[in-house]
Symmetry: C2
Subunit: 479 residues, 2 copies
């Protein structure tokens, strides 16, 4: 029936078997040649779009043709996040169990919006959040849900925090209320831009985000936060939330959460901890001190899709009191009402429909075990320290920030005739042009800084050595 284009339904099921096997072969071939592909795509803007017909086909196309287009059109246009040489931004790598779990997730295709619309999806999600929480050593008073990304998690936390600072905001909103002052939000100068975006989206305004000064280790100065909060309170403003970051995006610095928790307690302000990248590293006893005090937060976000080899997207939002989240957002219209009194996960977030994301966390935890995950995290940190040691030992280079986890920020000292920014930009371009390694950059104190971050399940010592060789070649022949 499929070939006729007349019907869609179970009748096409016989095709699933052969297509799935063809696709498995395709995926295996992709994975086996991946390390030879340029990690950063070399296509020019518009190349891919030009290769895709402007309108959809009227009649069915052969699956073999779709697979062949994957090779010719899609793969050359990909920047390969699963490439072992992907050391830019923060890694998001898909492990075997993560990929397999996504396959079965799609086949099940359940919606975890209500408990009733798939009890197992709701209850496994609660359990997996518990597993993550215990893995990173947080107390069991924290409960949570899985969101798509840290940006969404932080936004949802901000909406809950806004409800604590302005109790009737849910009903009355923020506008047209003469009794209400401005609502302010606090993060360090290195806080992730998702904090700014959340403040904009929630109607607080970008101008009301305070970017608090940092110390020489790029950690938020608790005294500066205290002063900012006092100034805003004194001016009649309503401090809504402080976001402390454990593992900033620019250089993975850690704000002093224990001190910040004291300041938040003194001012009665919601403390949110952004540990999107570094959170899983709290499972390593030797790194626990960096997280000291985060158990005092009102909310915490950490992303298994970053450093736990779970495919994108999977962000865990933990809260000390999920009732505050529900009170800020939950709505149950009659068409979603059910007889059960179980919690419905849609109540802690914007999205109503919710993928069964817990399944991939479950597969990953069981496939590797917590020992396997810890071993990976530890190895990544070790490889970063080795790379940093090479940088530190090379008179042409310098370390730009303390190496706390698996990320190394460094820059080259420019030869005469070049500015620092220009020289490092050329160096980075030269590395990225080669194709085996992809690094990104950040700005620290206004200075262009090269970032190498290790977080992919596929990255081994040889790839980090290759990154070092690539940097050495680039020093000889910058772009």
């Amino acid at each position: 029936m499929r070939a006729s284009g007349q019907a869609v339904g179970p009748s096409d099921q016989p095709d699933f078997h052969s297509s799935a096997h063809q696709l498995t072969e395709w995926i295996e071939a992709y994975r086996s040649c991946l390390h030879e592909l340029p990690v950063l795509s070399r296509v020019q803007p518009g190349d891919v779009e030009a290769a895709i017909p402007p309108v959809a086909p009227e009649s069915p196309e052969n699956f073999a043709r779709i697979l062949s287009d994957l090779d010719t059109t899609i793969v050359p246009g990909l920047t390969h996040w699963n490439h072992p040489g992907f050391m830019a931004y923060f890694a998001s790598s898909a492990s075997d169990p993560g990929i397999l779990a996504e396959f079965v997730t799609a086949a099940l295709n359940v919606n975890a919006m209500l408990w009733r619309t798939s009890p197992a999806a709701t209850e496994l999600e609660s359990r997996m959040v518990d597993w993550v929480r215990d893995f990173v050593g947080l107390p069991d008073l924290f409960q949570g849900v899985i969101q798509d990304t840290a940006s969404t998690s932080t936004f949802v936390a901000l909406v809950a925090a806004r409800g604590r600072a302005v109790p009737d905001v849910r009903e009355l909103g923020l506008a047209g209320r003469s009794e209400l002052g401005q609502c302010t939000v606090y993060g360090s100068r290195l806080a992730h831009m998702s904090l700014d975006k959340a403040a904009i989206a929630a109607g607080l305004g970008h101008a009301n985000v305070r970017h608090v000064d940092v110390d020489e280790r790029y950690a938020m100065r608790a005294d500066a936060l205290d002063a900012a909060l006092a100034a805003d309170r004194g001016a009649g403003r309503h401090p809504v939330m402080v976001c402390a970051t454990l593992g900033t995006t620019s250089c993975t610095s850690c704000d002093p959460v224990a001190e910040i928790a004291d300041v938040c307690a003194a001012h009665g302000v919601w403390l949110h901890v952004d540990a999107a990248y570094a959170g899983p590293a709290a499972s390593l006893p030797e790194l626990q001190p960096l997280f000291d005090g985060w158990q005092r937060a009102d909310s915490i976000v950490l992303n298994p899709h970053k450093w736990m080899s779970v495919p994108i997207d999977c962000s865990v939002l933990l809260g000390r009191n999920l009732e505050e989240f529900r009170a800020s957002l939950a709505l149950t219209p009659e068409y979603l009402a059910s007889d059960t009194t179980e919690h419905n996960l849609m109540d802690v977030g914007i999205a109503l429909g919710r993928r069964f994301r817990a399944l991939k966390l479950w597969f990953v935890f069981r496939w590797y075990g917590t020992n396997g995950l810890r071993a990976m995290l530890r190895r990544h940190c070790e490889l970063a320290r080795e790379f940093a040691a090479r940088v530190a030992a090379d008179p042409r280079l310098e370390i730009a920030a303390p190496v706390l986890f698996s990320t190394v920020c460094f820059r080259a000292i420019p030869p005469a005739g070049f500015t620092e920014g220009d020289w490092n930009h050329r160096l980075l371009s030269a590395v990225n042009r080669e194709g085996s390694i992809f690094l990104s950059h950040a700005e620290l104190d206004g200075r262009f800084t090269i970032r190498l971050t290790i977080g992919s399940v596929h990255t081994q010592r040889e790839h980090v050595e290759s990154a070092w060789e690539s940097v050495e070649r680039a020093l000889q022949h910058p772009a």
Copy 2:
């Protein structure tokens, strides 16, 4: 190396081959017995959670054991959205190409946040949005992005609309501004709750959502909307957005978009169209009149994960001017800056990380062709009409709302001694208890109404006939 629990990496790759084949077999077995499983899960609250260990395993577990737990723990706890008898809420069904696409999406695991972080993901997404737009007959001035769900799409549209109504809201926010009146939002009494949630999240306040009256067909009264807008303007408030719904959740009624567009134009208010469910039906010429005027909207949402057999999640947000969306939310910190001037999809949404959702749309369009998709939509509408005819012909039942698409709202006339609500609740419970069919309910004019909706790629005539038989049995033996 895996068995030792010491390392995680490419060394486990050999396992992928056999695991993928085992999993394919598991999926095929699940699919082939799916129609025999109870569509609505029968577990009790806590059953699934009790079966999952409270903490993660330290050492790796065998994949066969994970698969076996899928059978024993997960499947009994699922409400099977892919079951052919799933006729509750709105269907979200995963077709063969959709499932296969999710498998390859996970294996590629790219992040479509920036053009640079995977050009093909960005450009295919643009193309797929174009395909959807053309499929439903909208003019090519509409461009868009893929979001997770309609709730998110509507929220993002509201943030953009808020920026038009209050041009400096991005910078200054809504609070503490004496010059600013309340900001109001409009939908019919049957508008989806995501509109209310969006207004709450955006800081407008639930009390500022106007639930405009409807006519006897449950369509928004344009005159009532006009009056509400005039009253709010007269009181110094700022109307931000009108949401017209094409295919309401309760009964799939359609607001008169052309008339509403006139009203919005007269008042200078953003028009958003929620066609999350019904949107794909605009591809059928015979149903196009219901959509008349939607091409005048500022933004439109429709969900391929509902009625286009694309696995959850996939919601297309179309905008007349994406620049307004970007102006309301876009932020590019230095660590995400790149040399290209291409648009970055993260700029039209809250989430920074973005799955490669376009791939499943591409697979589905090509596998079925637009003719195949139209045939499915048409067949679903035809099956709904057949079911409605049986209801209309049965003196024990009555049709509760016009059947415009593939959803039938009906209720039973209670025998003496029962209230209408109680009788229909019993009837629904009896149907759902049987296990072969899952129906949901809605409230229309305060009256409990049973809803049957057809939208799954797996639902055929025999399943709708089975639904009718189930209703007949329930009439004999209500719960």
